[in-house]
């Protein structure tokens, strides 16, 4: 008996010891700074990420040629110590710091950057954000032209032959335009300068027949061959001796196709960050180098631990060139998505910074009670609904416009959100430097909406199919979706069923285009309208509406280099919404007394071209803008170096903690 008891006691003691050991090994040093990070990151590979949550980690773990100043967000010398810009603003020479290191000790060279940008643009990688660097010479050719040529040769041309056989007397314009949409022809010849192709794409009436048809076929073949050749050229040269290349280990040259005012900002953006070639190309790590136990970065922090759905721990990198300027040693990021849970963690002091918007129900109370900690400031972010423009009835612009005219944005902002957001009748948020948005036909205009819907064949909503309104799971998206559903029922008689998916499922669904209407938001990547407008170029990675408009693509292509527009201005002025304004700006360019004034005048012309593009967007309404966000943050008073800004970017590198001296 006694021996039995002893045995039981022994087992119990061993078990206790094991439990104790388990807990003692999980005991970690407390972090200097803890914050609510939102969702779990989808990836840590800066070339593949697209979200704000991921971007925050990328800024901590990696560093580009420049980094954003924590206060002003202006680009500051990062891996590049200094740079020179050519007078025509198309050539950048970056001088890299010799002391910059990957955090495994390997030095970072200009070759790493050239190789990384080449990897980003490689069609095999399939980066959704690659287009953001298409301003670099050869990048677009390398990234997309081979795909265009394939599309032209394997789909467009055989299809055109078949179409021609179906219409021996010439192809009627409607059938032709249907074919253009179906074969994604706009995408395949994006930016072409070829006259027969442009004429054919613009054809809205009459018949496409010989000899124009024969010329078109020949032009498309030639275009395919041209693109194939350009792609082959870029495959050999891009990142090697063209576009971006290393002059020596610490000198990097970047050639742009046109002056790009926001280019330096792009070098601080995660898509342009270098990735460790020695790891990414290593056969054993190629597919999972971005996993926490392997990842090597060059940023101010390194990843110490990642426990999914618990926390991510970042520690100051001992190899970062500017490590002495980093105040925080240990940071814990908690992936909490529930707004109540996040708020409670903040209020009980378990975190210092809550990035999660608090529950809408209490925003007014929070404003009153925590005026210094609850920071609200206008954001460079637009909340919108995508229409699936490939699906009936949303392929009809009248239907899209009717719906956009029946949504009461004012009520949503004032009574549902209640935190001071701005109702949006545009896609580009107000207040971007140098940009004045075009007049918008949107707004709450119920009579017009009803008339448009009737004109499209659905008087009083009769015969209109049930609409599924997709949103990613979040309380405020649900409330807005329900309000919009109510508006559309009340004003147009449409039955709209809101339904939700988790963030990752939602992303897959919208990417595959399997929705009717889907909620989305876009945070400007830099302070220029281009970051909002180039979303909607044909088949852009973030377009996801299926909307395609040749004139729109062309306007953005012009805006990338106003000289292109100047070359074709006469033909184009008649197609613009505001030709007078355009004419005035063209005159200003030719009247410019010196090159600097000319650059400025061209910048103004560029802004006008972007304004024309947006005017097209608010007429065709492939997306329904709802409101421009205010950013919401809860920040403890002891957190310093945290500055509100429209992009809602608060680099961890700039934060420090200063508690008042306690008794």
């Amino acid at each position: 008996m006694a021996r039995n008891l002893l045995g039981i006691g022994g087992v119990f003691a061993v078990a206790l010891l094991l439990v104790g050991l388990t807990f003692s090994t999980t005991q970690e040093a407390p972090a200097d700074f803890r914050f609510i990070a939102g969702a779990e990151p989808k990836t840590l590979d800066p070339h593949l990420m697209t979200g704000q949550v991921e971007g925050r980690y990328a800024d901590a773990l990696f560093e580009g040629l420049t980094y954003r100043d924590p206060e002003t967000l202006e680009p500051r010398p990062g891996v590049a110590r200094s740079w020179e810009i050519s007078p025509d603003k198309k050539l950048y020479v970056f001088h890299l710091r010799p002391e910059a290191r990957w955090d495994d000790g390997t030095p970072i060279t200009a070759h790493d950057f050239a190789w990384s940008w080449r990897r980003l643009q490689a069609p095999e990688l399939g980066s959704e954000y690659a287009y953001i660097l298409h301003v670099v010479r050869g990048a677009e050719a390398f990234n997309a032209y081979a795909g265009h040529a394939d599309l032209l040769e394997s789909t467009v041309l055989p299809g055109l032959k078949a179409l021609r056989a179906d219409h021996p007397g010439g192809i009627p314009a409607p059938a032709w335009q249907r074919y253009v949409a179906k074969a994604h022809l706009n995408d395949a010849v994006k930016g072409t300068t070829d006259a027969p192709i442009q004429a054919a794409l613009a054809l809205k009436q009459g018949v496409l027949a010989d000899p124009a048809l024969g010329a078109l076929e020949a032009a498309l073949s030639a275009e395919a061959a041209r693109r194939r050749a350009a792609a082959a050229h870029a495959r050999v040269h891009f990142g090697v001796d063209e576009g971006i290349y290393a002059r020596d280990d610490h000198t990097l040259v970047v050639e742009l196709i046109a002056p790009t005012p926001y280019f330096l900002e792009l070098t601080a953006f995660y898509t342009s960050f270098p990735v460790p070639r020695h790891l990414v190309e290593h056969p054993a790590h190629r597919d999972d180098w971005f996993l926490p136990e392997k990842i090597v970065g060059n940023g101010p922090f390194r990843l110490a631990a990642w426990r999914v759905n618990e926390k991510m721990r970042l520690v100051r990198s001992p190899t970062y060139w500017n490590r002495d300027a980093i105040a925080l040693d240990v940071i814990d990021a908690f992936p909490v998505e529930n707004s109540s849970a996040a708020l409670n963690l903040y209020l009980t002091g378990a975190v210092d910074w809550n990035t999660n918007p608090p529950p809408l129900a209490i925003v007014d109370a929070l404003r009153a009670r925590y005026p210094g900690e609850y920071v609200l400031n206008p954001s460079m972010t637009v909340y919108y609904y995508r229409f699936n423009c490939t699906r009936k009835p949303f392929d009809d612009p009248r239907v899209r416009r009717a719906i956009a005219l029946a949504v009461d944005r004012e009520t949503i902002v004032r009574h549902v959100l209640r935190k001071g957001d701005t109702p949006a009748q545009h896609i580009v948020p107000y207040g971007l430097p140098g940009y004045e948005p075009p007049p918008s036909p949107l707004g709450l205009k119920v009579e017009e909406a009803r008339a448009l819907l009737a004109e499209a064949g659905y008087p009083g909503g009769r015969g209109f199919p049930e609409v599924k309104l997709l949103y990613n799971t979040l309380e405020q998206h649900k409330l807005i979706a329900e309000t919009v559903a109510g508006d559309l029922k009340r004003h147009l008689g449409l039955t709209v069923v809101p339904f939700n998916q988790e963030w990752q499922a939602y992303q897959a669904t919208t990417l595959a285009g399997e929705y009717d209407m889907a909620r989305a938001g876009w945070i400007g990547d830099y302070a220029d309208p281009n970051t909002f407008l180039d979303l909607w170029i044909t088949n852009g990675g973030n377009n996801q509406t299926g909307w395609s408009n040749a004139a729109y693509d062309r306007l953005l292509w012009f805006a990338a280099d106003p000289d292109r527009f100047l070359a074709e201005a006469d033909a184009w002025l008649g197609r613009l919404a505001e030709p007078e304004r355009a004419r005035a700006r063209i005159a200003a360019v030719s009247a410019a007394p010196d090159p600097a004034a000319q650059v400025e005048a061209k910048a103004a012309l560029r802004m006008h071209l972007l304004r024309e593009a947006e005017a097209l967007l608010v007429t065709e309404v492939p997306v329904l803008p709802v409101y421009f966000y205010v950013n919401q943050n809860l920040v403890k008073p002891h957190v310093k170096g945290w500055h509100p800004n429209p992009q809602d970017i608060h680099p961890l590198r700039g934060l420090f903690v200063q508690r008042p001296e306690g008794p």
Binding site: N338, S339, S340, L343, N344, L347, P359, L360, A361, I362, A365, L366, R369, T411, I412, R414, H415, V416, K468, T473, E475, L479, E482, T483, A485, G486, K489, R490, V496, V497, F499, Q501, A505, T509
Partner: protein, 311 residues
Amino acid sequence: MSAPGRPAAAAPGAVPEAHKGTSLSADAWRRLKRNRAAVGGALVLLALAAACFLGPPLLDRAFDLRAAPEDADPTRAYEAPSWSEPLGRDELGRSYLVRVLEGGQTSLLVGIVATLVSVLVGVTYGAVAGYYGGRLDEVMMRVVDFLYGIPYMFLVILVLLVVGDEQRQSAVPVFAALGLVQWLTMARIVRGQVLTLRHQEFVLAARALGASDARILLQHILPNTLGVVVVYASLTVPAVIILESFLSFLGLGVENSWGQLAARGMDVVNPIRAYWWLLLYPSLFLAATLFSLNFLGDGLRDALDPRTRES
């Protein structure tokens, strides 16, 4: 000779003289009526069901209280309960009374439909296993044991994840999933009953008279298990309602059930300011329903289960 709990008609001649003129169901009814908790539960339940299904159209007509999508009026969001709006308004200014009543429709339907599914599957399965016995019984009951071994929540979530996101917005998969995890106990209980019944004299008599298996099962055996089935089913309804509420808290439940309303009410309870009515009222209705169902179920068991019969 007279096995308790058997209808008098099933075994002619076996009825004791003293009980002549009262059938088992009449007996049970009498006992049920004497159980105050059960009667109270039944009345509350009836009132709740009537309110949930008849209330919304009446409130619409008589008091202008509505909660359809087009009745959202965000300018009146979060109005506290008042005389004109007894349960306040929700986050989009819809009448919360109507929303809670409509939520009751969903919750009650979920409970009843899922229970019917479990009764249908469980009774059939258990009766077949118990009646035929032998190897078949062995195999069928091991399958049940196996399914018992899998955590039911896991099964439900699995079923809900297998159906697509779009179907998940409708209530049918939840009905089916909940019913499919609830039938196991029902199958065991019915099998046990059938096992004791199938060797009884009245079954032998029926078989001697040449009745088919189907007829024996349907006419002679199943009516005798009815009491147990009713009792267990009445206890399954609240279990299912609770399970659905739990699923709602995990974000997998049926839209606009009481569980979902309460889950959303939870989101606005925090140290800053609480819109208490959003959480309180669906929870109260849910609790009242569960109490009534449990009292009624207990009462039914007392009335139908002869072993607890009062002398």
